[in-house]
Amino acid sequence: MILTPAQTCGPLFGFAMTPPDITRTVAEDDPAAVVLEGMVLDGRGDHVDYGAFLELWSREQACRVRTLEGRFRAVVRKPEPVTLPGGNRLAPHLSIFLFTRGLAGPLVTKVYFPDEEQANRSDAILRQVPEARRPLLIAQPTGVERHLRYDIRLQGERESVFFSID
């Protein structure tokens, strides 16, 4: 069986990939809503020209957002923790798939929550990441309740942690 090869999304996807309703999984004024905002930055620290689109997934939801002037904004329900069949425990988190021109396939990362310190410490995925880089996977509080900041750096000193899937 030959798998269908990936190709880049190219620069011109904005008109097609974010129809109404797809950019949030919950109303912003819902008490369970979390607003996640951040930038997608390249190796020079510039926001990615022509933008990127991101898909955020947890067991109970998925949404897709795009960057405008480098900035994305997703409204999601805070996910529940997960226990995998093998017994591994995962803290509340979202998987992120990022697409942008210049890349033939998606970059895969995760975002964890800053108010889950204890669950994050025992999270089976974070424990596979070198300790010094773990904080890069945790969103930052903004001072505004239920609003978090999470930047994705494709390269550089604080390059985000990316994952490969077997």
Binding site: L3, F15, I22, L154
Partner: protein
């Protein structure tokens, strides 16, 4: 055996890749550590009645050759994937995208928006009706502009995000495929062939429909009637001069030295 022929992540065609491909090695995770949703992806998304038919999204029909693009989504074991979300986006017949960042200057088609989506049925089958997109020149790494073959962008989401696929589909027999840098970034011909849709005569439709056009093409004297013509000579200078070049050599019968018989 499962074979994968993805092109290198650094899309070698794009000058921006060098600043976008992460430099640290990725952390490997088992696919179980990603999420599987029970229903279709983006359950909050409402599919419209015409989302799969890009030829009826405008008030009138778009210009271009109509094509049915259909097929089956299966997993690597050949099992059909039902309820997969299949999304497409594409240029119009002239090679223009309805996107604010399209710099081609090619004309837009007021009746063509170029985006569609549908779910696979219980047998993993999807079907779109659209028009064949025109080719267009794109900028590549060395700053050169080169023509892309006609292609439709595809996004496919099965049950879990670990099988996520974004790709591009090409048309069998398109001579531009051999010079398209994007498909040729795939290192193996078998991989390239996976992206080339095959002409499907059996499922093609060839009908006539309706009366002849009520369009006056000759006047009462039998002379041809033309619509109004543009006479401004500056018009030629204000549009994108890009055009595919075709060479057409004509060899005349006989000898130039002797008149036709």
């Amino acid at each position: 055996m499962i074979e994968s022929f993805d092109p290198p992540l650094a899309d070698s065609n794009s000058s921006v890749s060098t600043l976008r491909v992460p430099l640290a090695a990725p952390v490997h995770l088992d696919k179980e550590w990603f999420h599987h949703l029970p229903g279709p992806a983006f359950g909050q998304l409402k599919l419209g009645a015409f989302d799969h038919d890009l030829t009826v999204q405008g008030v009138s029909e778009p210009i271009g050759t109509r094509v049915i693009v259909h097929g089956t989504v299966t997993d690597s074991g050949g099992v059909p994937v039902k309820n997969a979300l299949v999304e497409i986006w594409q240029a119009n017949a002239a090679g223009g995208y309805r996107d604010s960042m399209d710099v081609s200057g090619f004309p837009l088609d007021a009746n063509f928006y170029g985006a569609g989506r549908c779910l696979t049925d219980s047998r993993g089958h999807y079907r779109f009706l659209t028009i064949r997109p025109g080719p267009y020149p794109a900028m590549f790494k060395d700053g050169a502009r080169a023509w892309r073959a006609s292609h439709i962008h595809f996004s496919v989401l099965g049950a879990g995000c670990s099988s996520r696929l974004v790709t591009q589909m090409y048309f069998e027999g398109d001579p531009l495929i051999r010079m398209d840098r994007m498909i040729n970034a795939i290192p193996d011909r078998r991989g390239q062939e996976r992206l080339i849709a095959v002409l499907d005569e059996e499922n093609s439709i060839a009908e006539s429909f309706g009366p002849a056009r009520a369009l006056p093409t000759v006047d009462g004297s039998g002379a041809v009637v033309h619509p109004p013509r543009r006479t401004d000579p500056g018009a030629l200078l204000t549009r994108n001069p890009s055009a595919l070049a075709y060479r057409f050599d004509i060899v005349l019968r006989g000898s130039a030295a002797t008149p036709f018989e």
